[in-house]
């Protein structure tokens, strides 16, 4: 069995209560840091651990913390990003729902490291029941003296609040989240200034993902050096992967970084192989925003190395033949999947979620969705395929926040790897009329057939 850190005590009955959580070693890190470590010591441990942001971008957490403006007179804030709205990603929910205290302990330890006296958890609107779980856990923590004034008799005090969002994906982008938390419309801000200098209420702020924060107490307990031993190279520690799609065992798995993708998909410990004995067709490895991979690039990289579950290995080959670890939303697609339909579905999502502030994303996402809708339903033209590539190119890199890129990449990569399937939709409109067109007879590449014969 692989090593579990975040989910080690998942199956202990009552782990959602403070009492059982403490029995399993919970809140030890709070005692340790408050009584034996300075805030900078904690940051130093996190730096040593090599922990990288689990929200998508993979930015080193310790480094982000060290950017916080310590000279500012203003209060500092830690904000936990629990907006988790990326299609395919549902790991933060799992963690908060099952072991809520692990996040709260992480918030206390991290806030101490940053010198924050007030911290926030911003949770997506649809997770209303999780909000209730967190609120209950926070009340327990206040009662036990882990939150509030003079925690454990030290002179450190911390207030922790949970704020619920209203269901907008864009509020997961850190600056839109801060706007929303301030009670405004959730439009992303222009950067610079970065939140570390001017974030919540124009004060120095760190925004981190749920999983990032929950890993911090474990790093404190086991030391950063020990944590860094898990994993491969610059991808250290364990990662929660939310696996979905055509697999036998969908769910949330904790893996050690460096696990081969092949093992993750086919081992019974994890996804348990493709459902109904079908053939694997494509993979979205890290949430809907990352480039899609075709079968031949999933388990091996373009140079033939085994593909591993690490930041580096998954992005090996860049946009041409790689993808990204992203937020760990692992979506497996078998041969019955229509890539065009899948791409259109994603395009619809980004069109719906664009905040509408900047013109390339506002107009481009809608345009791409409409063109894809046309192709999928057999009303497309050959030139539409190149049109899509061109629109995606004109959005990418030209927007305020990365949502524009996130909308462009899945489409550009789907056309790069599955162009023939798009062209098939244009060539044989009558064959794609039935929405289940590849369900009974999977798409077969004519080119490939010709080369075999």
């Amino acid at each position: 069995m692989a090593r579990k850190i975040l989910l080690e005590h998942l199956n202990v009955p009552g782990i959602e209560t403070l009492e059982v959580f403490r029995k399993m070693g919970g809140y030890q890190a709070v005692e340790k840091v408050l009584k034996t470590m300075s805030p900078d010591d904690v940051t130093e441990e996190v730096k040593k651990s090599g922990l990288r942001g689990r929200g998508g971008a993979g930015f080193p957490a310790g480094m982000k913390w060290s950017f916080i403006d310590k000279k500012s007179e203003k209060p500092r804030y830690l904000v936990c990003n629990a907006d988790e709205s990326e299609p395919g990603t549902f790991k933060d929910r799992y963690l908060m729902e099952k072991i809520p205290h692990s996040l709260i302990e992480g918030m206390i330890v991290s806030s101490y490291a940053l010198g924050a006296k007030t911290s926030y958890i911003y949770i997506r609107g649809e997770y209303f029941y999780v909000l209730r779980i967190l609120e209950k856990a926070i009340a327990e923590a206040y009662e036990a003296g882990f939150l509030g004034k003079n925690i454990l008799g030290t002179d450190y005090s911390l207030d922790l609040h949970v704020q619920i969002g209203a269901g907008a994906y864009i509020c997961g982008e850190e600056t839109a989240l801060l706007e929303s938390l301030e009670g405004k419309r959730g439009n992303p801000r222009m950067k610079p200034p970065f939140p570390a200098i001017s974030g919540l209420y124009a004060s120095p702020t760190v925004v981190n993902n749920v999983e990032t924060i929950a890993a911090v107490p474990h790093i404190v307990n086991m030391t950063g050096d020990e944590y860094a031993k898990i994993g491969v190279g610059r991808s250290t520690g364990t990662k929660l992967i939310s696996a979905s799609g055509h697999i036998n065992k969908p769910g949330v798995y904790e893996i050690e970084m460096g696990l081969p993708v092949e093992e993750f998909i086919y081992s019974d410990e994890y996804c348990g192989g493709i459902k109904n004995g079908k053939r694997l067709k494509a993979l979205i490895a890290g949430g809907s925003s990352v480039p899609i991979l075709p079968e031949h690039l999933i388990t091996k990289t373009a140079n033939g190395d085994a593909r591993l579950m690490t930041y580096e290995s998954l992005s090996d080959g860049g946009f041409v033949s790689g993808t990204m670890l992203g937020s760990g939303g692992f979506i497996v697609m078998d041969e019955t999947t229509c890539i065009v339909r899948n791409t259109w579905t994603l395009a619809r999502f980004y069109h719906h979620e664009s905040c509408g502030q900047c013109s390339p994303c506002r107009e481009g996402t809608g345009w791409m969705e409409k063109v894809l809708h046309r192709i999928e339903n057999g009303h497309g033209k050959m030139s539409d395929v190149d049109l899509l590539v061109d629109i995606a190119k004109k959005i990418e890199g030209n927007t305020i926040c990365p949502l524009g890129d996130a909308a462009a990449w899945p489409i550009a990569s789907a056309i790069r790897h599955f162009r023939e399937e798009f062209e098939y939709h244009v060539k044989y409109p009558e064959k794609v009329k039935d929405p289940k067109h590849f369900f009974y007879a999977p798409f077969v590449s004519e080119k490939m057939n010709a080369s075999i014969a």
């Binding site: 419309r185 222009m190 509408g356 502030q357 506002r362 049109l387």
Partner: protein, 326 residues
């Protein structure tokens, strides 16, 4: 002071100046177009992305290029920065993309739009756009609405530059005007259709780069190029009283603020001057107004950039000559 180079032209500007404003200090072709930035409105800019430029050298200290194109209106200059505007094909390509994005859902109703002839989007389209549209889908539509007694909102034409919301926020004392909804369904709106009644609300019309906000006292009375702009002023207790009268014969059809060559108001004017003083006898006429902006009003001074490559070579030569000379 910071030394910056824009399209081969070196200049020295005060620290903290944006790239766009640095370019405006020199003027001419190197000034990127700006559809959302408005120097007199705090927080404006960064949204339309027409002003994107390439920073090929970040600063003297850190010469690395910036990884993406940056909005020149909201990027401050660094000492030793090198910027490419019309000398970069990437920039021109991206800008063409932005213009196309702004136009796909914009109705092509210039023949019946009051803004035609003094419309920033029209000018931008002429300069950078494609002559043909690649957009086949239906354009999005909204209902027309009234914002108070004197302003018409024609949301179909809006490019969501957010300028009017900043006017409402910064010139008026209640925050009742803003953006509702998301993405390409976003629209500007007064909170639950509450009319904005305020002494300075009329300035929204002047800051709107397109025909989304128009003056109801002027709508459909004349094409702007048939009217004669005259500088005029009056004693006004609320504002400077310095305006432009748009006359036809001896009739005052419209009153607006005075715009500079970048389409920005020199001073905001009050609603009384704008909507209520429509007789020449209300005003002291100073004389005909010269319109600097290249637009229909200044008699077809459109410059086409249709053969960009050739233009760039020519342009670079001119720059080289200018640099060599001085």
């Amino acid at each position: 002071m910071a030394k910056v180079t824009i399209d081969g032209l070196e200049m020295e500007v005060p620290d903290g100046t944006s790239i766009l404003n640095a370019a405006r200090m020199v003027g001419g072709d190197i000034v990127p177009p700006a559809m959302c930035y408005y120097s007199k409105l705090k927080g404006s800019g960064g949204k339309c992305r027409t002003c994107l430029v390439k920073v090929s050298q970040g600063s003297a200290k850190d010469p690395r290029p910036m990884p993406k194109l940056v909005p020149s209106c909201s990027t401050t200059v660094q000492d030793g920065m090198v910027v490419e505007n019309i000398t970069s094909l990437d920039v021109l390509e991206a800008r063409k993309g932005v213009v196309e994005f702004l136009l796909i859902n914009h109705p092509l109703d210039c023949p019946v739009c009051d803004q035609a002839g003094e419309c920033d989007l029209q000018n931008l389209g002429y300069k950078h756009g494609l002559a043909k549209t690649r957009y086949e889908e239906e354009r999005r539509t909204f209902e027309k609405a009234d914002i108070g007694d004197n302003i018409k909102l024609h949301m179909n034409r809006c490019i969501l530059c957010y300028r009017c919301t900043y006017v409402a926020d910064q010139l008026t004392d209640c925050r009742s005007h803003g953006v509702i909804n998301r993405g390409d369904h976003a629209e500007i709106s007064t909170y639950i259709s509450k009319a904005i009644d305020n002494d300075f609300s009329g300035n929204m019309i002047d800051v709107c780069p397109v025909g989304a906000l128009t003056d109801k006292t002027f709508r459909f009375s004349s094409r702007v190029w048939f009217t004669k702009p005259m500088d005029a002023h009056r004693d006004c207790k609320k504002c400077s009283g310095k305006v432009v009268l748009w006359e036809k014969g001896n009739e005052v059809l419209r009153v607006t603020g005075r715009k500079d060559k970048y389409g920005e108001l020199e001073e905001f004017i009050c609603n009384e001057c704008r909507f209520e003083k429509k007789n020449t006898s209300d005003w002291v006429i100073e004389g005909p107004r010269h319109i600097d902006k290249h637009s229909v009003i200044s008699q077809n001074h459109y410059e086409l950039l249709n053969n960009i490559k050739v233009d760039i070579v020519k342009y670079q030569k001119q720059v080289a000559e200018r640099v060599n000379k001085g």
